[in-house]
């Protein structure tokens, strides 16, 4: 039983941690709503930062979005649409492919299953930088450069970490449920789709959220494969914007656009928080 004193210490430490984590966000928010002069001053000296702007400049956000790219609004909307498309396709492909491979490894028997599982786990040790150039060469040969295919298609082949999570979760599902589904008329695909996937909701949530955040924020992939302005994702657009409006006098626009880019991730986390934490817990216990 914890004493009241130790609880207070824990609470204080957690509060301090939360303040440290939230400070950059708060700083971004304040700067994004400041006048150009105040924003520039706050960037140079933290002491010049007010708790909240006396006159919030909400227009900064609209102006920042409008100013992306060479054509007003078009640059931002194109980048937004591209990010949504790439993220949606990648998240869907990752959830489907990882759960399907996880099902095969957890619930079907075939020669070499353990070896394949081991090889798949070993790929987790491979840094992505190692495969970057060979993959670029392959995609260039396929004529996929400057399309979203190199960003989406690899997701159809699963991700070792998420496959591992799905496999561990599915291995815990009682065998009788699978047998009942088979007798009720399901084949392997039916069992996977109708029984396993709905039962794996926490793992689906965690896979979807992690993949969403990674793909939404991914800069390197789109930088390598997407060259045309109309194909850029938000991360690329933000980088171009930084080159254009990176000066102290325009920093409020950069912060405003950065926050706009972050909003979907924050919203998604808030919406899926319960499932997300449940999934992490299950992964920890059953993994």
């Amino acid at each position: 039983m914890r004493t009241r004193g130790s609880q207070l210490v824990v609470l204080a430490l957690l509060a301090l941690g939360a303040v440290l984590m939230l400070f950059p966000l708060w700083w971004m928010l304040v700067v994004s709503l400041e006048t150009p002069a105040n924003a520039g001053a706050a960037t140079v000296e933290v002491g010049a930062l007010s708790l909240f702007p006396a006159e919030p400049q909400w227009r900064n956000w609209v102006d920042a979005m409008r100013a992306v790219g060479t054509v007003e609004w078009e640059g931002f909307l194109d980048a937004l649409a591209n990010s949504i498309l790439v993220t949606f396709l990648t998240v869907t492909a990752t959830v489907l492919s990882c759960s399907l491979v996880g099902y095969a490894l957890a619930r079907t028997r075939f020669r070499g299953r353990a070896t394949l599982f081991g090889i798949m786990l070993a790929t987790m040790m491979l840094p992505p930088q190692v495969t970057m150039i060979p993959m670029f060469l392959v995609f260039r040969e396929l004529g996929w450069v400057d399309t979203i295919l190199p960003l989406v298609v690899p997701a159809l082949f699963g991700n070792a970490f998420f496959v591992f999570m799905f496999r561990q979760f599915m291995a815990q599902v009682p065998e009788a449920l699978v047998e009942a589904a088979r007798l009720d008329g399901c084949g392997h695909l039916g069992v996977w789709w109708r029984v396993m996937l709905p039962l794996c909701r926490p793992v689906v949530a965690i896979t979807a959220v992690f993949t969403f955040i990674f793909v939404w924020n991914d800069f390197l992939g789109p930088l390598i494969y997407l060259h045309s302005e109309d194909k850029a994702t938000l991360a690329i657009a933000l980088n171009s914007f930084r080159n254009q409006y990176g000066g102290l006098e325009d920093v409020q626009y950069l912060m405003a656009l950065s926050l706009v880019t972050m909003i979907p991730c924050i919203l998604l986390f808030l919406v899926a928080q319960r499932q997300f934490i449940e999934g992490l817990g299950k992964g920890a216990v059953k993994g």
């Binding site: 009788a176 009942a180 088979r182 007798l183």
Partner: protein, 378 residues
């Protein structure tokens, strides 16, 4: 409805472990057959082979005359109720029960459904009606919108039966469906299952390790041990004329008493007992023989001339409506006598270690060859 015929059906697992060996059995159309035996006797494996959940490695299995060895479980027209219910936790009771019918409809072809809207609506209505009908039969209509997690054990079991019922299968398979229920509920559900069988007249194969459940439910019992069928007969016959010592010991509570003896001069000599005169074909034989007497056939002898054996009282257990008396005979062989509660006082009046004369009716004695599976010989 259909017959289920086992012709020398065997199951050998990779590595050579033989789980089931040469099962020969014909389950008649509409019959309720119970596979009973101790853990690891092969009864569940046998049932799972009928369901198509275990590959048959030897022999032939026919359902309704059709050889099904290579037919997937979903195409055998069988429905199974599992020990832990196996309800889909993410679906409501209604969706659980409709699940097999929905899958059957899918097999009818996606294209056909899409091109014929009215046929699809008719099919939807038919499935809904089937679910309602089964729910009414089982008294679970009020639970249809609930999730399995919101149901009690007995309710879950009813839903599991309902899911089997809606399919109107040729054969129902039950794999220890009552073993997760408490004792009172088990007795209730047992009666419901029996009534359901009488109402449907369906072919049912039921696995249990509980011999009381087996005796009350089955038209016929199949007693199994070591992967082989030991006896297949009506519950009455299994109880009164067990085919071997294993069956005699397994069926009946408490177990039958066994006393090892030797044949000498046409008499069975059991240590601590009067020589037992055996007539007929036993007269000429020698060697060992096992005498079996059910606990309820054993009683105190009224006089010395009636006594057939003597035993020391070890313990008297009061069971309310009856009492069990644990006794020891010469050679450290143990006996149990089950007597009515009216005799409790007279037994309790005896001190532990008191030697009492016991007797039994000759017709109630069973004779077996020596060994754990010694066959019945009288």
């Amino acid at each position: 409805m259909a017959t289920v015929q086992f012709e020398a059906v065997s199951k050998t697992y990779p590595g050579g472990v033989r789980a089931v060996e040469g099962v020969e059995l014909l389950v008649e159309d509409g019959e309720f057959v119970v596979l009973v035996g101790p853990s690891g006797c092969g009864k569940s494996t046998t049932l799972r082979m009928v369901a198509g959940l275990e590959e048959i490695t030897g022999g032939t299995l026919r359902i309704g005359g059709r050889v099904v060895n290579e037919v997937p479980g979903r195409d055998r027209d069988v429905a199974m109720v599992f020990q832990n219910y196996a309800l889909y936790p993410h679906l409501s009771v209604r969706q659980n029960m409709a699940f097999p019918l929905e899958r059957r409809r899918e097999h009818g072809g996606l294209l056909a459904r899409l091109t014929s809207g009215s046929a699809a609506r008719e099919e939807d209505a038919r499935i809904a009606a089937e679910v309602e009908r089964a729910a009414q039969v089982l008294g679970i209509t009020a639970l249809l919108e609930r999730k399995p997690s919101a149901l009690s054990g007995g309710q879950r079991q009813r839903v599991a039966v309902g899911r089997a019922l809606v399919r109107r299968p040729a054969v129902f398979l039950f794999d220890e469906p009552l073993s997760n229920l408490d004792a009172k509920l088990r007795v209730e559900m047992r009666a419901e299952l029996k009534a359901l069988h009488q109402r449907l007249g369906a072919t049912m194969l039921y696995v249990t390790h509980d011999q009381e459940e087996a005796m009350t439910l089955g038209d016929r019992l199949v007693v199994m041990d070591g992967g082989a069928v030991q006896q297949c007969a009506s519950p009455r016959e299994v109880y009164e004329r067990p085919s071997n010592r294993f069956v005699a010991g397994f069926v009946g509570t408490p177990s039958m008493n066994f006393l090892e003896g030797k044949m000498e001069g046409g008499r069975l000599q059991v240590p601590g007992a009067q020589p037992l005169e055996l007539g007929g074909r036993h007269r000429e034989r020698g060697g060992g023989l096992v005498l079996g007497v059910r606990p309820d056939a054993l009683r105190r002898a009224q006089g010395a001339e009636e006594a057939m054996l003597h035993a020391r009282v070890a313990l008297v257990e009061d069971l309310g409506d009856r009492c069990d008396i644990r006794l020891e005979v010469e050679g450290d062989q143990e006996l149990v006598a089950r007597r009515p509660a009216s005799e409790l006082e007279s037994w309790e009046a005896l001190e532990a270690g008191t030697v009492v004369p016991l007797t039994f009716d000759r017709e109630e004695a069973h004779l077996f060859e020596p060994g754990p599976h010694g066959v019945r010989c009288g």
